[in-house]
């Protein structure tokens, strides 16, 4: 039931002592980076050795903007020769963030995932089909290495090719899957087409759902339709990737691994800590990351600590499913998108005005993002060829930036309401 019993059930005082020791080591290590070096030297003795966990508050927050500005190596604490992996978010318009890993980091990450999977009952004898994208997306390789470490036979299926995914499940008796919730729901329509019932025709036991926030209702739907237990998974590439927090069989909140992360929940405006149980922004400090430790990193994810002890016996606290964001980022098909990325692309194309709108819909359970742009007279040639060419140009440009293909809808000027002040660019019409 526990892969690492001592750590998972460590009494709080011991766990907190471990955290303090690791926090100090992390601060020391972080000071070797260009970015933190400057900050920590500026704060002087006050942060050389923190005496209590509360002293963490003497250190400033780190934001995604800081990561972007320090791109690419501002946060690195080791020689580049020590770096064995790099993961980068999408974005070519100054929005990219990069995260580095040493061999020890990769190992730590895999251990966290293996711990999560073991907690849900996964063992060496299982067959794991990893159905999320590989490549830069940390969900893919993250789970892959963790599952291999656990010893399960791992199928690096990636996403898409639904008929082939189903055939793998049949041929190899897949028992565990890692999949994004919207794809899981979409796949059900393909099952219907093939006439197969995943509950009776397959050997699936467990589904790990991550990369997009989803409701309890969606989780129960996946469980009922697939005949599995579906577990919520939380992570972010700045803190390895998946493996930061995970549900145990109680399925009442996700245990966040406090031997690896120092957890704070703060009010998004005042940045003061909120009482346990109150909603706020999750702020994380890495305790084991080597290549690129992060201190008081603002995740922009809204959640709360689930108060009380979990019956599973683990002493690591739980966070609730993510409620939303404190910035304007949204997620489509598991991919993080910032409206600024879209705006930057559109501004580079003369024919479209600065008036655009992003519509998010759900069609056959899949996320669809439509970018509406107004066609301006000045550039309107008055023929179909011109309109089709414009549409194609927009679609290609957006695909290059976002790494998935959005729909583009050309509309008449004046169709998109001009917002006063800060434009509300995104309308989310998904259920």
């Amino acid at each position: 039931m526990y892969r690492e019993k001592q750590i998972e059930t460590m009494p709080r005082p011991l766990l907190e002592a471990l955290q303090l020791e690791r926090l100090n080591r992390t601060v020391q290590r972080a000071s070797r980076s260009a970015y933190y070096g400057r900050q920590i030297r500026a704060h002087g003795d006050a942060v050389q050795t923190l005496k209590t966990l509360a002293d963490l508050r003497k250190l400033p927050f780190t934001t995604k903007q800081d990561l972007r500005k320090a791109y690419p190596y501002g946060f690195l604490t080791v020689d580049r020769d020590e770096v064995v992996r790099m993961h980068c978010s999408s974005g070519t318009t100054g929005q990219a963030t990069v995260v580095f890993h040493t061999a020890a980091d990769i190992r730590c990450w895999a251990e966290l995932i293996a711990r999560c999977m073991y907690m849900t009952g996964a063992r060496r004898s299982d067959v794991f089909q990893n159905m999320t994208g590989y490549g830069m997306f940390t969900g893919g390789l993250g789970f892959h290495y963790g599952a291999e470490l656990l010893g399960a036979m791992t199928l690096p299926a990636g996403s898409g090719s639904s008929k082939r995914q189903i055939r793998f499940m049949q041929d190899f008796s897949t028992t565990l899957i890692h999949i994004i919730p919207s794809y899981a729901l979409y796949l059900l329509t393909v099952f219907e087409e093939t006439g197969l019932d995943p509950r009776t025709d397959l050997q699936l036991k467990t589904a790990y759902l991550g990369a997009e926030p989803h409701t309890e209702h969606t989780r129960r739907r996946v469980e009922a339709a697939y005949g599995v237990k579906a577990y919520n998974s939380y992570g972010l590439s700045e803190m390895f990737g998946p493996g930061v927090a995970f549900e145990c069989p109680e399925q009442d909140g996700m245990h966040i691994w406090e031997d690896a992360f120092l957890v704070e929940v703060v009010h998004p405006d005042t940045l003061e800590p909120v009482p346990d149980g109150d909603e706020g922004e999750l702020v994380l400090t890495s305790l084991t990351r080597e290549a690129m430790p992060l201190i008081r990193y603002r995740t922009r994810d809204l959640t709360r600590i689930v108060p009380g002890r979990c019956p599973c016996g683990r002493t690591h606290r739980r966070i609730d499913r993510i409620k939303g964001r404190t910035d304007d980022m949204f997620i489509v098909k598991g991919v993080n998108v910032f409206p600024m990325q879209i705006e930057a692309v559109l501004m580079g194309i003369a024919e479209v005005g600065s008036n655009y709108r992003i519509l998010l819909d759900s069609e056959s359970e899949m996320d669809v993002m439509t970018v509406e742009v107004e066609v301006r007279s000045e550039f309107f040639r008055g023929d179909v060829k011109g309109l089709n060419a414009l549409k194609k140009r927009l679609t290609d440009a957006l695909r290059g930036e976002l790494l998935f293909t959005p729909r583009v809808s050309l509309v008449e000027p004046g169709t998109i309401p001009k917002a006063e002040g800060k434009a509300v660019r995104v309308t989310d019409r998904r259920a």
Partner: protein, 141 residues
């Protein structure tokens, strides 16, 4: 002199044609021919009017997306085979028709054609046996 008709971009939903024609009416524009092309989410409206410059200004001012497209208007024999004769000639001269609409009015028939290169096309009509309407004739149809 080259004549023009208007190409207007409009959303495929009720009310757009009413809106467009109201603007033209308010500007005192008289429409000579009118055509709608269905492109799915949106459509292209081609309008032959008596004063394309004024019409274009009025539509622009009202926020519509409009473009003036050069056209040639061919005088077509008003009897069976008249239209065929025109297209045979266009093929002979290798003139590609980008868009077209035709109509019979009063004592004649007219085919309005958009081509890639209007100037070149007009030259090709000389000694072809076909007559092009003048700018003045077109707007007075």
């Amino acid at each position: 002199m080259i004549a023009y008709h208007l190409s207007v971009f409009a959303q495929n939903r009720p009310g757009r044609l009413e809106h467009l024609t109201k603007i033209l009416a308010d500007a005192g524009i008289n429409v000579r021919a009118f055509k709608v092309s269905d492109l799915g989410e949106y459509g292209l409206i081609k309008a032959l009017v008596d004063d394309p410059d004024a019409a274009s200004r009025a539509l622009d001012a009202a926020g519509m997306t409009v473009s003036k497209k050069p056209i040639v208007a061919i005088d077509v024999e008003d009897r069976p085979g008249g239209l065929h004769r025109v297209f045979r000639m266009l093929t002979d001269r290798q003139i590609n028709v980008e868009d077209a609409y035709g109509f019979a009015v009063k004592d004649r028939a007219v085919l309005v054609v958009e081509v890639a290169d209007t100037h070149a096309a007009m030259a090709l009509f000389e000694n072809s046996g076909l007559r092009l309407l003048t700018e003045k004739e077109i707007y007075a149809l």
